[in-house]
């Protein structure tokens, strides 16, 4: 049973990590907790579903197009909501509240368009059978989620660490003003970050939609709660942190179910998280945030 639970934990943790990647990226660069990330994640699911159902596209193509679509929505949200607030130098809390509004709007509009019911990808979109290794069962989607989460993380880390673009983004994260004075196109990179983060959220939505057959306008909210926990645990804005925080939460939840009780799944997982933050308030990889005067 333990081996099976470890596989369960790894795939659940990868889902959380995947969701948290985009979420943490926006915070890292823009310094904004974008609470519409859950709603955009949900839109990713629906975008891919429509592409597969209506246009009969293969899933891999639908995944890429859904990422582009959600990326564009992220861009629109940035231009319409975050950018005006940036221009006015609004304190941190304001863009966060504004994105709650965006999330509620997107959720409500989606409900109007798609209905409140759960939808699923047509049967046969992905192989549903699991591979059995003795008593161990792994589905193709579980493997895909784990692989895609790790690949996206490595790519993102590579971009941030090794490229000119990454250096510019890190400079912005340190101080947008200084970066601007150094001739970096700060506004353009803000927009690019919002696009990339939303595209990552959309990818997470597609994979979760494919693997759990529960695409609904309300699927973003529970994921958002876990995502917030994950990025706080991992260290706000840290990409490795999002990955490890996600895996940590997945393992904590699954092992609680396996060895304590499913009744305490969230209580134990979030309790542990709280304990870790007591020891290291900045999260596992985070730097202590300096208060900006």
């Amino acid at each position: 049973m333990l081996e099976q639970q470890l596989i369960n934990a790894l795939s659940l943790g990868s889902v959380y990590a995947l969701f948290a990647l985009g979420f943490t990226l926006v915070f890292g660069v823009l310094g904004v907790i974008n609470l519409s990330h859950g709603a955009i994640f949900m839109l990713g699911s629906y975008a891919a579903l429509l592409l597969v159902e209506q246009m009969a596209l293969p899933l891999w193509l639908a995944l890429i197009l859904a990422m582009v679509a959600t990326g564009l929505i992220g861009l629109v949200v940035d231009v319409l909501v975050l950018k005006p607030l940036r221009r006015r130098n609004a304190p941190h809390l304001i863009p966060m509240i504004a994105t709650i509004g965006v999330a509620i709007m997107i959720t409500n509009i989606s409900q109007g368009i798609f209905g409140a019911e759960n939808k699923r990808f047509p049967v046969g979109t992905i192989p549903e059978e699991s591979v059995s290794l003795g008593n161990l069962h792994i589905t193709a989607v579980q493997v895909a989620i784990i692989v895609i989460a790790f690949v996206l993380m490595v790519v993102l880390l590579g971009v941030m660490r090794k490229t000119q673009l990454g250096r510019a983004l890190r400079a912005i994260a340190e101080s947008p003003k200084a970066a601007y004075l150094l001739g970096i196109n700060v506004e353009g990179l803000f927009l690019l970050t919002s696009f990339a983060a939303a595209a990552l959220g959309g990818a997470a939505g597609v994979l979760v939609g494919v693997s759990f057959n529960a695409i609904s306008p309300f699927m973003g909210q529970p994921m958002l709660h876990k995502g917030i926990a994950v990025i706080i645990l991992g260290g706000m804005g840290d990409i490795r942190g999002a990955m490890i925080g996600g895996l940590f939460l997945g393992f904590a939840e699954v092992l609680t179910v396996a060895y304590i009780s499913s009744d305490f799944r969230d209580a134990v997982a979030f309790g542990l998280l709280f304990l870790i933050l007591l020891v290291k308030p900045s999260g596992m990889f985070g730097k202590v945030l300096e208060r900006k005067a």
Binding site: Q5, N8, L12, Q111, F212, N213, S216, M223, S262, R265
Partner: protein, 385 residues
Amino acid sequence: MQINTMLKTIPALLLGATLSTGALAADIKLGVAEALTGPAAKYGVAIKNGFTLAAEEINAKGGVNGSKLELVIEDEQGKKEEAINVFKKLIFQDKVLAVFGPTLSNSAFAADPIANAAKVVAFGTSNTADGITAMGPFTFRNSVMEADVLPVTVKAAVKHFGIKKVAVIYGNDDAFTKSGYDVFKATLEQQKIPTTTTEAYAKGDVDFKAQLTKIKAGNPDAIVCSCLAEEAANIILQTRALGMKQPFIGGNGLNSPKLFEIAKDAGDNTLMGSPWSSENLTPANKAFIAAFKTKFGSEPDQFAAQAYDALYIMAEALKTVKLSGNLAKDRDAIRAALPAVKIDGATGKFAFRAAPAVAGKQVGFDADQEAIVNIAKGGKFVLLK
């Protein structure tokens, strides 16, 4: 000055409103408070459709004693607070004769006391939790309690599959699934069926593999599932992905075409007890299903059927009441007339049964109806024979 004039006009306006309602006495206003948006909308909208269909049918046949039924439909969003607001609006502002709803048991516990205090009938068509009708003499429901349905279902399952031990999974943060779990637990104890493990999940969870892996380790003969259809469908699919073949036993929550839209054949051999089945081929049910399909272009579910029946029950009661135009008197007359109603509707033969008295006082009325046990075969529920 302005405020003063306003204060003077308000009574006049109110008087005018009362007079105009008096003048339109031909219409009988009935309130419908259901969750038309939000996560519970899938039930609320089905319920609304059931009411709309029944109202059109009744009015097309000339209404009740020559009066047309007018539904005042409001969205309570599946929230307690909104249910209270909407009940207040329907009762005090729209001055309806009786109120149907709200959709969820949770909300009924919040809103029904308002109706009772105002002495207006609150008629639930989808509230199955224990204790709903204990709230007062104006509370009615035609939804069959889980406590009546589940013991019958479990007994049928034990016999059909030769079950010795079961595992249980349920949603622990929803009044409906939690209350279903409580009934299942009591039923299993009563029928002396041991439980290998009891697992819970929370609203919004999509990955149940951790719980199911644990259930698998206990090797039960069947899995009892107090869940809503969409969760149940995913639980079933994930069970199969883990290489488990056990049949499922569930309640009302599984009675939805959604189960098979998501789970397809994986849901086969699921047993479910419900007051309504699309396979129950009585003339009344056949007519209901056909009319519903024509009007809405989709298959009806249990929630639509119960709402549809509820309006016919109300109409039957209204037939025996001579409306006086005095709202308080008429509202009380409806309450007095309802308990005697017996109909043969889409959900079969229906009568009310007085709920157990609370502190020596007579309270509301529950449904007195037979549960139908169904089994899933080839992606749909058929009657278990």
